[in-house]
Point group: D2
Chain length 340, copies 4
């Protein structure tokens, strides 16, 4: 049985395990204040082209989102995002649990537009009983989106401009940031993201690490006392070195980008096969995620050899997600293509 | 200047002021444990046709909603309601502030259907990663709805049935319950509400009281330790007698229903005038609220003598709410009709 | 049966009822934006000797405390107060419910000292794992304290100085502020309070109003968007006029101070009688509250004619609170003294 | 420089790294639903002598505590614990952040007594205004305590009895459970803990794992929907296998106990050396933690070669924690003893 159901099926890239092994008996101060974390911060800063970034290593995405968002918002503020945003649908209401409304915008493809964000914010300020409604206090978006689609530099710049005009920070969830930036449709670098976003994170869990996300606070206004927030939200890993050394491995020798390119390449091969065989795609993805319609029968047949990710049923067909990763073996991609 | 902008413009019905005056120097135990509260509970129980109800007096609607909903839900649960629900749009995210997601359903007229509720709940339980999504833990609806529309007994009974099948309580926001039950379209009594809902409240603020809502917990499963929740949410009025004596006045001699009938009657006159003059109604309201389209010019002309409630602009016209109440004077209704 | 058990036994001072009656059919905009609230704000500003205050009318004390404290603190901050503080013992954990730790200091008499506050704050900043502990973000104290003791101007000024040095605001709970400022031991005026505190409230509920507290934000840094916080915490009274007109009555013609002086005078008479009869006082109170030890037998005897407030048992004696108020009749005081 | 400052200085026991390496390219379902987690659950169940336990793997202690406590308590309830409890002093108010008061009891040695717990609970129910105070809803204790002291079976059984009588669950924080149970003073086994506690966790982070705690819900009443709580609190690790395989390693071949015995043995050697040299101990510890007074000069001298954990200054001496662990090398213990 070969699984293409998600991008966190395997452990970690061998170079990470090697570092874990080599550093194991070193004694380090806890909570992210060790040498490996420090070095990883330097590597990420360099990749971002800036030396004034505030970088923290977190264990997982939901934890990162809830910590960041609740640290920025005032009690009466909410976070604006797409209806399909991870924080809206797949985090068990962690944002609401922290006291804040998730203010959704309907989108066709999981991507917000600057116009939509402007309207959402403006509609609040136009309300005559303004204090009876939740104030937009942050804009959240994922790059790539939960539907595998990506933003262009212009689109993100426009959204950031709306945010700036309204004094609302822009937060980018980069759980799959590498896959997004390495997409053949992307015209951005990590440095662009660091310039455009106030806060963002560089995903590790889905990008080759055992676990971990590198949170980057690019706008110093949101840095004050941030470690208190991490601790209070249960996210301050005692052996923080585990996170640091993984990002050291990922950001030395361009490993992070190589793994991203590999996953996208394998996805592209599947994508092209699907198109050539007449399957209908849900979104025209160019990252490591493919959303495709197939008959329920076809899915059942495939399921004897492959594990895919069932999303939902629509009449007589089903929507399925096929996911590659840094760990996808080319021969497994070949097998899947043959079976499609 | 005459205002039809809402139903809490004036103070209170004279009989309430009279009681306030007469009881003023009585010494009473605080926090709702006085003789007036006790008597008001008896009167409401009688009007509900039951003697096993747990009744609490609260100061306002938002406070009541947040206290009830957060007392019932487990941390990972949310409350299902219409997109237009008061808790979703006009309570500054009080429900989210208490840690819970508001799970909305789009409706044309502000009314939920049993089918919609069933689907909403079922879609949660169909999710393969069920614990990644918020669990529906309560259904909230308003009678009448925020758009002035009302539920029939059959509609509410069907929703309650879906709730029961899913072990999810039904909570009815009755901020304007009197106006709703006295609508010419209503086929329900207060006793029906007490039989159908697990929890509901009988609005006082918009129905002739200075302030106050009578919360009725009809399902004993939700009564335990409820007063702790009221106190913790800042809702335990020190001089609880003020709430008790107002509901004594409202539920003696049918005053509550008389005031409701009066408001609806005045609204009906305005409604009929609007229809006869060709205005387009947003919803065909039969309570004390009328949502009507008019030209921006017409609204401006009216605004020299009348205060109406502007909701929003749609192209070249505006949506306006006209509201009557227990206090509306017939001669003012006459003037408004003449001016329309 | 005559009660001296608390200071919110009766309704309201007649001048308040009169205003309620006279203004009843006026039509007013809701939520504290009416003419009466505006006028009351002017009167309070004048009494505070400043015209730059941000004043809001709230319904009750717990609601006021939770709204103020949660609006000021960052998520990882707590509020420093005496172990006996109302927010620590008698608000059902409302502060913790809003997400914040109550950081207590043990005191003999319910009063904080500048030294204690300095040490409490310093001990946090001395912790090597600083972000593992709650950061002090506000100082809360009550004037008079929950034990009926009062601060001198010097004591409050010293505490305020420590607060300023540490960039931590000082919030004064004035549920019984009138009784405190009119104490024969007090050397302060309302203007002093407005100069010393960043935020404070002037109690109405226990000082002659039906209900209501006037919240004064003296430090503009805490004013931004405050009304959102009130609404979100369920504290924005629809008919806000009710609060405004009560504070109009209290702050016209010095009524607030007259009522305070009266209550203190009656308490002094009881206090002197207790002392002359050899009762042991718990704190040497000079406001409207007396904490006194008596034998359990004596309390039982008194209880046939008087309702007093039992606090706790200590060996063979009990601690009892005797409370006067604006409404205490002198003949009832006479009767109590005779019975002691 | 050799560190004895805490028990999470190194990576993980080699057998854990080996498993990580061997299982790395296996494809596993996420979120704790893989084969390794399943196997680890069986091993732990067996060590607990029961097959009806609900076991979850969490990443860290603060996260575990906040998830468990907030899942059990009703909004108006708090958790009873020692003043020195980890949740009270070193989790940045995570419990309060989840909405609940930490209700502390002063202790001399970090250990609660049944009598203290009974009194704490009884004092709540004796309050005449019961709903104005926080209701005790859970008892939390650490075994061993934060001061390195341990409970006997009788002591824990007595506390559990008080809990049962009051329908309040007992939760045991076992961050260092192995060190506690392997103390020469302990008369308990893991099976005893599983019989006495309603919920407890078996620490991994400080006991030889990279990270991770095994949470055991022994009382089924608290199991319902627990995974939602984990996810909502950001604690559901995507690659849950990492936690499962670590506990597989620890609970196969008694590794967990061997590592605990080793750490305690090294601590005993240091403890005996301290006693023989006349140092004053703060608590007479028999686990892996030693709290000892020394002169500030002595600490400074030691600090050139050893890193110890400074707790606080008392007059002219300092309190220092010396910590061994599964990873402590005997030759380093020798060196420290020589230097003392």
């Amino acid at each position: 049985m070969i699984s293409f159901s998600c991008d966190y099926l395997e452990g970690a890239h061998p170079r990470i395990l090697e570092r874990l092994f080599l550093s194991n008996m070193e004694q380090h101060r806890g909570y992210g204040q060790d040498r490996h974390c420090e070095h990883a911060r330097q590597l990420i800063s360099k990749a971002c082209g800036r030396d004034d970034l505030d970088i923290h290593f977190m264990v997982g995405g939901t934890q990162t989102n809830m910590t960041v968002i609740s640290s920025v918002l005032r009690p009466y503020q909410g976070v604006v995002c797409a209806q399909t945003a991870h924080i809206n649908v797949h985090e068990t209401g962690a944002i609401e649990h922290s006291g804040h409304k998730v203010m959704t915008i309907n989108t066709a493809d999981g991507l917000l537009s600057a116009e939509q964000v402007r309207d959402k914010i403006a509609s609040h300020y136009a309300d005559p009983n303004i204090e009876h409604t939740v104030q937009p206090g942050m804009v959240y978006l994922s790059m790539p989106s939960e539907l595998g689609t990506i933003y262009t530099k212009q689109q993100l710049t426009d959204i950031a401009q709306v945010c700036k005009e309204n004094s609302v920070p822009l937060y980018i969830d980069g759980a799959r940031l590498g896959y997004g930036l390495c997409s053949d449709l992307s015209d951005m670098t990590l440095a662009d993201i660091a310039r455009i976003a106030d806060i963002f994170y560089i995903g590790g869990t889905k990008q080759g690490a055992l676990m971990g996300e590198a949170l980057v606070i690019a706008n110093k206004a949101y840095s004050k006392d941030f470690r208190y927030n991490i601790k209070q939200n249960g996210g301050l890993l005692a052996k923080g070195r585990l996170l640091g050394l993984q990002f050291e491995a990922l950001f030395e020798d361009e490993l992070y980008w190589q793994l991203s390119v590999h996953a996208n390449h394998e996805a592209k091969r599947i994508h092209d096969a699907l198109v050539s065989k007449g399957y209908e795609l849900y979104t025209d993805a160019h990252t490591n995620q493919i959303l495709v319609y197939m008959s329920a029968d076809k899915l059942e047949t495939l399921s004897s050899d492959f594990s895919l990710d069932f999303w939902w049923r629509e009449d007589d067909r089903v929507l399925v997600r096929i996911c590659t990763s840094w760990a996808t073996k080319s021969e497994n991609t070949d097998r899947l293509i043959a079976a499609l």
